[in-house]
Symmetry: C2
Subunit: 83 residues, 2 copies
């Protein structure tokens, strides 16, 4: 099954990359506020159903993909592939 994970800096956590993006967009003439940059991870896991896939990917987030102290994550199971 295909999964998409969004990992974002938590509110209140300093995000230098987001600040750089916001300021660069400003220099290009765009008016933006609150730019924040995180990661999107797409992957494919073996699982019998979507709930099992989601549980497995949440484990991956806790153990590797996100730093739960400063990042929040969102897991979406996108589709089934010969489960």
């Amino acid at each position: 099954m295909k999964a998409t994970v969004l990992v974002r800096p938590k509110p209140g956590i300093l995000d230098p990359q987001g600040e750089a993006v916001g300021s660069a967009l400003g220099h290009l003439g765009f008016e933006v506020r609150d730019a924040r940059v995180g990661k999107v991870i797409d992957l494919e896991v073996e699982a019998t159903d979507a709930a099992a896939a989601k549980a497995q990917v949440e484990q991956m987030c806790e153990r590797l993909l996100a730093n739960p102290l400063i990042e929040s994550y969102e897991v979406e199971i996108v589709g089934e592939s010969a489960a």
Copy 2:
């Protein structure tokens, strides 16, 4: 208006970060295939309607947020905020 941009390496483009994530997950005992890592950018723009906001953010992608040669992007306008 709030916008979310997903920037991903195009299919066929080498993604060393994705390979590192896939291999690290393998070492932790997870079975994953095709891990790919991209960016998620959240920002807020001034625009009169969602279509205008989307056009503006697509411009930002072309000019700064993505490298169209090797990355694809997806723009989603998430909500309105005192437009």
